[in-house]
């Protein structure tokens, strides 16, 4: 039994490893990514500093909390960018027909994409997120969470947020099999993710009706909830259970979409 689980996991972890090694071959312009993230962060840092010149506290955020918020949001975003590429890859593989070689692999195409994200995620965490964390501490004064438990729970919640982002990307990829032109859907999804995840502005600043829309969507699990845990706000148990529910829903739905797609492709295959 243990042996079986071991073999099962080894296969999947190997996929992640390969996807990690694959990207090592590309030269990514780390410096330019870091510089542009620095500029974007500097802009929101200066904006919020200006806003808090006349207000000491807004919607339960003081200046220190809001600065931590934008810094953590950009850190989380730098790793969350990886799963966002999956739908683009899938649509490319369908168009070029590369998908055929992926379908005959011993691991399903769904799982291939799922584990691929982890390899890439770890890579981007090492080359972008870690340097960004150092930059945030030196230039913008990122501070640690109040208690050790908050920190541990934040790491857990951020990991779950990553899985949710993977799930969202897989759901989106699942729809690609049904329609051909997805460019518009990608753009709207990217915008929704930017707005409702809390990257644009903390959700507490939203007008009531928009906030209730955000509460119903999974996007806030990726950025807003981990940060709220980091800052020690709100009901931690509640937020983590919401994340768990979304993980289950998204993985089930995406799995179903992919299963349907396989059937359709058999029909078209011929």
């Amino acid at each position: 039994m243990v042996n079986k689980i071991n073999r099962y996991l080894k296969k999947r972890i190997n996929i992640a490893k390969v996807s990690f090694q694959e990207i090592l071959a590309f030269r990514i312009d780390i410096v330019s990514i870091l510089i542009s993230t620095f500029i974007v962060t500097l802009l929101s840092y200066s904006l919020w500093t200006a806003i808090y010149k006349t207000n000491s506290s807004l919607n339960g955020f003081d200046l220190k909390a809001i600065i931590n918020y934008i810094l953590i949001a950009s850190l989380l975003n730098s790793t969350l960018n990886t799963p966002r590429r999956v739908p683009l890859n899938v649509s490319r593989e369908i168009r070029t027909g590369q998908i055929a070689t992926k379908l005959i692999k011993p691991v399903s195409y769904y799982e291939l994409n799922f584990w691929y994200c982890f390899g890439r995620g770890i890579y981007f965490f090492i080359i972008i997120t870690i340097p960004l964390t150092i930059i945030s501490c030196i230039f913008f004064g990122l501070t640690l969470p109040n208690t050790f438990t908050d920190g541990v729970l934040f790491v857990l919640s951020a990991l779950m947020g990553f899985v949710i982002e993977v799930g969202l990307s897989l759901v989106l990829s699942g729809f690609i099999f049904k329609t051909i032109n997805m460019d518009g859907v990608f753009k709207v999804n990217a915008f929704f993710s930017y707005l409702f995840s809390g990257r644009l502005i903390p959700l507490a600043f939203f007008p009531k009706w928009l906030k209730s829309v955000a509460d119903f969507l999974p996007y806030r699990c990726t950025v807003s909830i981990p940060i709220e845990i980091y800052l020690g706000k709100g009901n931690i148990f509640m937020m983590i259970s919401i994340q768990c529910v979304w993980i289950i829903i998204l993985l089930l739905v995406s799995n179903m979409l992919f299963r349907n797609a396989y059937k359709r492709m058999e029909v078209m295959g011929g």
């Binding site: 330019s32 500029i39 974007v40 200006a50 006349t54 207000n55 753009k187 644009l200 600043f205 939203f206």
Partner: protein, 263 residues
């Protein structure tokens, strides 16, 4: 002379559009999706002013004037001059500049006329929408309308001069990657009234990366806000001319430095 250039430009443009039209996609849908993708800053400003009445002395409508001007100038620049960003890669490293140098028209003109980036028109439209909405709430005279049009042209010229200088760096330091986009991110600062920022940022955005000359300083005049550095609003055309001259000199120095590729 100018008439000849206009004729050539429209010839180039119609050729380009013919090429583009052969890949027709559902244009209207893509267009609306594009707009949605680009209104995030506008949303940020609106949501923010829902929470605070005033930002460093600027109300929502006044901020929208700055935002609208900045977006329109940048959008127009990106629409008509976006081929400049390939100067380092296509024209210098791949040697396409050779082809343009033997033409009887200015090579700079040839580069610009090669492409119209129709995606950026959405940016112009969003900016225009924000500007009109904001100005509907401000008292405005006919002279100021002329001033707005004038400052839009002036703003586009500033973007053009600045990015020509930036891209000319490729004549001396070859690189496939244009650093233009890093500076484009700096232009996001100019979508806000820069008086709210710290003085180093204000200085950089006025004298080194002069994007605020296209948005903040005209807005100060249009709205009649007597804040510091008011005089710059009146001399923006002079600064623009200086930047244009500088760009012209650097471009010609660069052309002299250019030594084709191999064979």
């Amino acid at each position: 002379m100018i008439k000849k250039y206009f004729e050539i430009y429209f010839l180039f443009l119609s050729q380009y559009l013919k090429r583009r039209m052969s890949f027709s996609k559902d244009f209207i849908l893509t267009f609306f999706m594009d707009i949605i993708g680009k209104i995030s800053t506008l949303l940020f400003i609106t949501i923010l002013f829902n929470n605070i009445p005033i930002l460093g002395g600027w109300t929502l409508n006044e901020t929208l004037v700055v935002y609208g001007l900045a977006l329109m100038c940048r959008g127009t620049y990106l629409t008509f001059f976006s081929r400049l960003e390939d100067l380092g890669s296509d024209f210098i490293l791949d040697g396409e500049l050779d082809r343009l140098l033997v033409r009887p028209i200015s090579p700079l003109f040839s580069i610009i006329a090669e492409k119209v980036n129709e995606d950026s028109i959405t940016e112009v439209l969003i900016g225009l929408g924000a500007l009109i909405y904001a100005l509907a709430h401000v008292k405005i005279t006919a002279i100021k309308v002329f001033f707005i049009i004038f400052s839009l042209i002036n703003g586009v010229l500033i973007y053009f001069a600045f990015f020509l200088i930036i891209n000319c760096i490729s004549f001396w330091y070859n690189s496939r990657f244009s650093i233009m986009w890093t500076f484009m991110e700096l232009s996001d600062f100019s979508q806000y009234p820069i008086s709210i920022f710290t003085s180093p940022i204000k200085f950089i955005l006025t004298w080194i990366v002069p994007f605020s000359l296209a948005s903040y300083y005209p807005a100060v005049y249009i709205l009649g806000k007597g804040i510091e550095n008011h005089w710059i609003s009146y001399v923006t055309p002079v600064i623009t001319i200086v930047f244009l001259l500088l760009a012209y000199i650097i471009w010609h120095k660069g052309l002299k430095k250019y030594e084709s590729v191999g064979n």
